[in-house]
Symmetry: C2
Subunit: 331 residues, 2 copies
């Protein structure tokens, strides 16, 4: 008889999460009722935003509840169905969290076509991270051809997509990433014009060299020293989309020293959460699926094997050990 | 024979300006040519932005040149004219800087009506500071009735106007000012709902008490600790108009610690310079003149006597010694 496996959050991390904050439990595979479907998850998503939800404080969503299954996006296959809209065998995107099986009446499910786009990509470049990139770039930065756009965490699922979309718009695109290997891929695989390795010790001067005309748009995923370096290079009327501040997720807030650039350069800085802009999802997903299907949009994944590996992979994600979208393969 | 008096900037301040950075010189009153007018300035304006221009670094305008007359707004009277558009006796707003006389072919001059609005007010509430308040509030914060709007430097020329305009829109309006006396006036004279004295030592808790429903809009004039306290109280989708960061003008940048609120509350922060939004000036000035003329808009001035007093008054302005718009009376 099959069992379900689930990761629960059993305690809130102080600073960096530890394995002991999570607990793996085995439960019965859920029985489905009228109009419900049972989904066997093939991949689950690990994302930086999950760290924020582990804290019990005011944020844009309710905190992750203790002793409950860790929430998150999943892709999988319908393995039992009492809902005519979802036949057995259908591939679906859902939000069943860190577990092997999920049950739904269809709410929150979306059928996807895996003919040209691999299933796992619906957790990344053709999923929430991809739409995040699309919205931050098109909805906030609004880049014009010839402008310079900088992206932090450039080798990540969001960052790599931002950069490629900006290139398609005719921008000069500069990534910021940690380590020579990531920077190499950002330029050679994802086609950025340049990439600054923030771990190389010359962030300010390297960024200056990579942005000879200054910076018009910045897609912010990390905060901290990178944000300060970028603020010092912003051009008048620059736009900054704040998508994440991963450098501060685990500890004390990291001060911003160059805030004065907001005034001297009349910057617009805007934070956003992609789930609050659902009206853009269909357009964005269609564009991204087309680009991936035609090979014009590249992406990378880091795949952890088996649900048991999820907490360690998540901890590694927060430390930048992943390369591209971090998923966990469940089958 | 009349002479002109002019204050020149002769050296760039390191940190706080000192009297020795300026030099008073006497020169001949300019002769006017064809189509020109001679204006005897009655008041000159002192504004925080002037400190920024005294530094020789990249900013939104060219720095104040050394050994040249300090730039700035003026109001005065036409005392000689070869231009039919400006008769002798006409009252005009100009930008002749720190001197007694100015010559112009009409460029940069604007005739004003002093029947209901005193001449000096055209340097303040019905001038650049007033339009600054109007644009930051209406163009960036866009407050809705019932929202809470906070204004720093609330007793200043800009801040007092922001608060009164926001009250007219049906907002709860909270000022932040330095000292019990200024706070008293902010509430009693300018009609704010509350005012927090940042010098009283309980900034965070006092601001919390004054903003029980959080903060939806913030008009930023000062930066530093006030900005951090406000960021911690912002509501989702709050808007911050950055007009000035006077707390950092004289020294090292003051770090912003609560930047994470930009993400967790999906804030929009936008810096602006009112001179880049000239299309709004006529509408704003007409509205402000009407409000002042009808007594619905209050304002205060601190008047230094005589051009000799200008540098000392300017230094005091940067230290918050003024109360309302700082001007220098020249006649």
């Amino acid at each position: 008889m099959q069992t379900n496996k689930q990761w629960l959050l059993v305690s809130r991390p102080k600073g960096e999460p530890e394995i002991g904050n999570f607990k793996l439990v085995e439960t019965a595979v859920p029985e489905i009722g009228d109009r419900e479907v049972l989904v066997r998850n093939h991949y689950m998503s690990l994302d930086p935003y999950m760290r924020g939800r582990m804290d019990d404080k005011k944020s844009y969503t309710a905190p992750q509840a203790l002793d409950q299954v860790m929430q998150g996006g999943t892709v999988g296959e319908v393995v039992a169905s009492k809902n005519a809209g979802y036949l057995v065998g259908a591939k679906v995107v859902g939000a069943f969290g860190w577990q092997l099986f999920g049950r739904s009446d269809g709410t929150g499910l979306r059928k996807v076509d895996t003919a040209k786009v691999p299933l796992s990509a619906y957790l990344g470049v053709v999923g929430m991270p991809g739409v995040t990139a699309w919205y931050g770039l098109n909805g906030i930065i609004e880049p014009k051809a010839g402008e310079t756009v900088v992206v932090s965490a450039a080798s990540g699922a969001v960052g790599a997509t931002v950069g490629q979309l900006a290139k398609l718009k005719g921008c000069r695109v500069v990534g910021v990433a940690g380590g020579a290997q990531k920077c190499k891929a950002v330029v050679e695989e994802f086609g950025f014009d340049a990439c600054v390795d923030y771990k190389a010790g010359n962030l300010d001067s390297d960024l200056m060299a990579a942005t000879p005309s200054g910076i018009d748009g910045y897609f912010e995923n990390v905060g901290g020293a990178v944000l300060d370096a970028v603020l010092a290079r912003m051009n008048a009327f620059g736009r900054i989309a704040v998508c994440g501040l991963i450098s501060g997720y685990n500890g004390a807030p990291i001060p911003v020293n160059n805030f004065r650039s907001v005034l001297s350069n009349r910057l617009k800085i805007q934070g956003f959460i992609v789930s609050e802009h659902l009206e853009f999802w269909p357009t964005a997903l269609e564009e991204l699926a087309t680009l991936v299907g035609s090979g014009k949009m590249k992406y990378r994944e880091t795949v952890a094997q088996g649900i048991e590996a999820a907490p360690e992979a998540f901890i590694g994600l927060l430390k930048g050990r992943n390369f591209g979208k971090q998923v966990v393969k469940l089958v």
